[in-house]
């Protein structure tokens, strides 16, 4: 990956020009600490139509008060990405409307992903008292020279005279420990303020002190519903950097397992959406079939949820003898069962009334928020990595990219259900032709990547899952960044949830289908 560094003074201008050239999708933003060369960020941009990409970076040598102009008005998603970078590197983005920490507590001392960060417990002891609420936005106003600014306190996030309720961190419908602070007016949601970080484990920081094979173990703790795809992405990125070619057999196994994982995740999404709407029977129906997928996975990988199957150069163990027949049996069964879902839930008049036209995410917003996966495709954005940048066997199999144009909760569910059919189609094309061969390529006991920056992406269960590695030739990554699938989704949620009813907020959340450990990492 070739990165162009931009001078900080010309940064905003360049970004605006790039946006004007059609680079409307901010694929990834990576905060970086290059030690002597300064702090900065890498922006990976893509043109959503021509699919051509460009990688830009900016850095500042000021370690005391590093400041970079914001791009949050150019790409909406940058608002949360910049808060993340601010949280971990202390880079203040001038002009950003809401410069608060995203994951860590307000009273956290220091910026943990900086290389000179002191992790001693004396500085950040385990705090037992509650976090003080920050009710003010902090904004950095851009001055004439466009990169130096002073902090000003801006309007309150939520006023005390508003009826404020917390959805989460312990709430049955946030599907994990996410917290929405809502300002309500009757049943209507006036403002949404999202708090993340309740399950933040600092995986990216941990990876910097682990060898490459050791980093693999973290991936399935991110989005546990795309454990295979996550690990696939990391293995692919490392293999790409090493110049390692995996055998055909491995590609077949990986593709099939990825698709099984996708079916698993989509079934769960259907079930949970039904559950959040109170249709518990539909929930059980979805889980009944999901159980069969999990059984197959358990047999092959030994794990039902957290799967450690992909390794660098192949997979952990060969597929079991009865694998093909079991998968085929399951696929046939699933195709019949899908009709039941439509009968009992999708075509139900109450569900249709509650989902059609609710939480509409427009195409422009979807791209600007980088909301890939089923959510983006429900808005009509052809964002499938399997088609955009084919990997594994996806350029050899035939499948349709499901696109809907409604952008509402209903379309988001339809996309998922139709994708199950496509995934079954992919599996059926591959399952009979798994070639003989090694299930893993031998690698050296100590894996060192050449110097450079590498990015690999797969289509995870709910969007593009990317892995960015900056290697300085060591056996450990200098910087490893995962592109989360969930952050764009909650950023979009913050926008489309405004003005809806509480009940719709829950269904929109379920239809966006985010997984919290993936957001928090």
């Amino acid at each position: 990956m070739e990165i162009t560094f931009i001078e900080i003074k010309e940064f905003r201008q360049t970004m605006l020009v790039k946006r004007g050239e059609g680079f409307d999708f901010l694929r990834e933003m990576v905060g970086m600490d290059w030690e002597k060369e300064g702090l900065g960020a890498i922006y990976i941009l893509e043109n959503s139509i021509t699919r051509e990409g460009v990688e830009l970076a900016v850095r500042t040598t000021d370690r005391e008060k590093p400041q970079i102009p914001t791009v949050s008005d150019i790409w909406y998603i940058a608002e949360l990405y910049e808060r993340e970078v601010f949280d971990f590197y202390g880079i203040e983005f001038t002009g950003h409307p809401d410069m608060r920490r995203l994951y860590l507590r307000n009273d956290w001392v220091g910026y943990p992903l900086r290389k000179d960060y002191d992790p001693s417990e004396a500085i950040n002891p385990v705090r037992l008292e509650s976090e003080t609420k920050e009710e003010v936005h902090r904004e950095y106003e851009i001055e004439e020279d466009r990169h130096l600014a002073e902090m000003v306190e801006k309007l309150k996030i939520l006023h005390y005279d508003q009826y404020v309720i917390n959805i989460g961190p312990q709430h049955p419908a946030t599907h994990g420990v996410l917290r929405f602070r809502l300002a309500l007016e009757g049943e209507e949601v006036r403002k949404v303020d999202i708090h993340c970080g309740y399950i933040h484990r600092g995986i990216e920081k941990l990876c910097e002190s682990r060898t490459y094979p050791q980093t693999l173990a973290f991936t399935d703790r991110l989005d546990y519903l795309s454990a295979h795809q996550n690990r696939h992405a990391l293995c692919m990125c490392i293999e790409k950097a090493m110049g390692l070619e995996v055998t055909d057999r491995v590609q077949y196994i990986r593709t099939i397992m990825d698709e099984l994982q996708r079916i698993d995740s989509h079934l769960l999404m259907f079930s949970c959406l039904a559950m959040d709407m109170g249709a518990i029977t539909s929930f059980i129906y979805g889980f009944r079939e999901r159980e069969k997928v999990l059984d197959i996975m358990e047999e092959v990988t030994g794990g039902r949820l957290i799967q450690n199957y992909n390794i660098i150069g192949g997979v952990q163990a060969d597929i079991t003898p009865g694998f093909a027949s079991k998968v085929k049996e399951y696929c046939n069964d699933q195709k019949k069962r899908l009709k039941e879902y439509y009968d009992v839930f999708v075509n139900n008049v109450i569900f249709r009334n509650r989902a059609i036209g609710v939480g509409v995410l427009t195409l422009e917003d979807a791209i600007s928020f980088g909301a890939t996966g089923g959510t983006g495709r429900a808005s009509g954005w052809a964002c499938d990595v399997r088609k955009r940048h084919p990997y594994a066997l996806y350029d050899k199999v035939e499948f349709k990219e499901i696109l809907h144009t409604g952008g509402d909760s209903y379309c988001r569910l339809l996309v998922r259900l139709e994708e199950i059919v496509e995934s079954i189609g992919i599996i059926e094309q591959l399952i009979d032709n798994i070639p003989e061969g090694d299930y893993k390529t031998k690698t050296k006991p100590i894996i060192k990547l050449p110097e450079g920056r590498f990015y690999a992406a797969v289509e995870g269960s709910r969007g593009e899952f990317g892995v960015f590695i900056e290697s300085h030739g060591d056996k450990m990554p200098y910087r490893l960044k995962f592109r989360p699938m969930g952050v764009p989704l909650i950023a979009a949620a913050q926008k489309i949830m405004k003005g809806c009813k509480i009940a719709d907020l829950i269904t929109i959340g379920a239809s966006l289908d985010y997984v919290i450990p993936d957001i928090d990492r």
Partner: protein, 358 residues
């Protein structure tokens, strides 16, 4: 058919013969109260068990199977667990109202329960304005729910209580209208008489089209009255955790739970009494031997059979449909059910006046 009045009169006479009149009345009151509460609890237990098994059947599961044969003791285990749970005092809640609320809800449903005609003569309260009394008694359960939400000092509970206030008061109207339609058909408000008339044919048959429309409206509105899916917004667990009873633990929650189930029983009981003939056996004009055979089945079996059929219908709905949104719930009531109910009342009146009933 067995008439329970003979038994009750016998007991009455016996009590009067052994003690003075006021004491006899007092004893009768006590016996009736104990019997009513016992029946209330027994039906609650039966229904909780039924709900589990029915829901399991709809969801391709088995339901409870381990405690006792076929899981029969599961409910008792649950009740026991509920009894030994700590009752948590909420800080800065209104203690009196907070503790009073579950009793109001149970009281309301217990009084309504007493109006049900279980069999000929087996009915605790039987006024000449019985239907009117049922409407009045059942509607003050809302008060308990509102108070529960208000006094728990919890914003979720508050939202749940406001939802239930809006929803239940609205749907009271439809329930009232559909019952009124039946009152027009029967010409009386006394429950026992209404059932008595139906020994010559159930109202849902005799009132044909308007009665069937009224029955459907009644089932929808009754479902909303009991706060069950698709109208379970006041306690929508995925939105408001548990709605108005979020802060209740132990038996406080238990009472709400029992009351919810018994409200369903009452709704089904009233449906069976007004529409399906209560304890009146199946009557087909012209088939005398068949009718005589039907009369051999005791009235209580008829009543419970019909009631549990309606309960099963309600459970089927509950375990199939997703939840509605509050604005949709109100739109359904005010824009559809109320106008249709009013029109239906008119049709029924015309039918009765013109003698077009069967």
């Amino acid at each position: 058919m067995l008439d329970f009045t003979t038994i009750t009169t016998a007991i009455d006479q016996y009590l009067h013969s052994v003690m003075p009149a006021p004491a006899a009345t007092l004893t009768e009151c006590a016996i009736v109260a104990i019997c009513a509460i016992a029946a209330y609890l027994v039906f609650a237990i039966v229904m909780i068990f039924m709900e589990r098994k029915v829901c399991a059947a709809f969801q391709c599961r088995l339901g409870p199977t381990r405690v006792g044969f076929w899981g029969i003791l599961q409910v008792f285990a649950d009740v026991f667990k509920m009894l030994i749970k700590e009752i948590i005092e909420i800080k800065r809640s209104d203690h009196i109202l907070y503790n009073l609320a579950p009793f109001l809800v149970v009281m309301s449903s217990l009084i309504t329960f007493c109006c049900l005609p279980f069999a000929q003569g087996l009915q605790v309260l039987d006024f000449n304005i019985g239907v009117f009394f049922i409407m009045a008694a059942s509607s003050f359960g809302i008060l308990g729910i509102l108070l529960a939400g208000w006094s728990s000092n919890n914003k979720f509970s508050m939202i749940g209580a406001m939802r239930s206030g809006g929803q239940m008061i609205s749907y009271e109207l439809s329930v009232g209208l559909s019952i009124l339609t039946l009152v027009v058909l029967s010409g009386t408000m006394q429950i026992s008489e209404i059932v008595e008339i139906q020994t010559q044919g159930w109202f849902i048959v005799r009132g044909h089209i308007p009665a069937i429309i009224a029955f459907i409206i009644y089932i929808i509105a009754g479902n909303a009255e009991t706060n069950r899916a698709p109208f379970d917004l006041p306690e929508a667990e995925s939105e408001l955790t548990a709605g108005f009873h979020t802060e209740y633990s132990g038996m406080g929650f238990g009472l709400f739970y029992v009351a919810e189930f018994m409200n369903m029983f009452i709704i089904a009981g009233i449906a069976s009494a007004l529409f399906l003939g209560g304890w009146a056996p199946l009557y087909i004009p012209g088939l005398e031997s068949f009718n005589n055979a039907m009369c051999w089945i005791p009235g209580i079996v008829w009543f419970l059979g019909k009631t549990f059929f309606v309960i099963w219908l309600l459970m089927w709905i509950r375990w199939t449909f997703p939840r509605m949104r509050i604005d949709q719930v109100l739109v359904l009531e005010w824009k559809y059910l109320v106008p249709i109910g009013l029109l239906n009342l008119l049709i029924m009146t015309i039918c009765v006046v013109m003698g077009w009933t069967l």
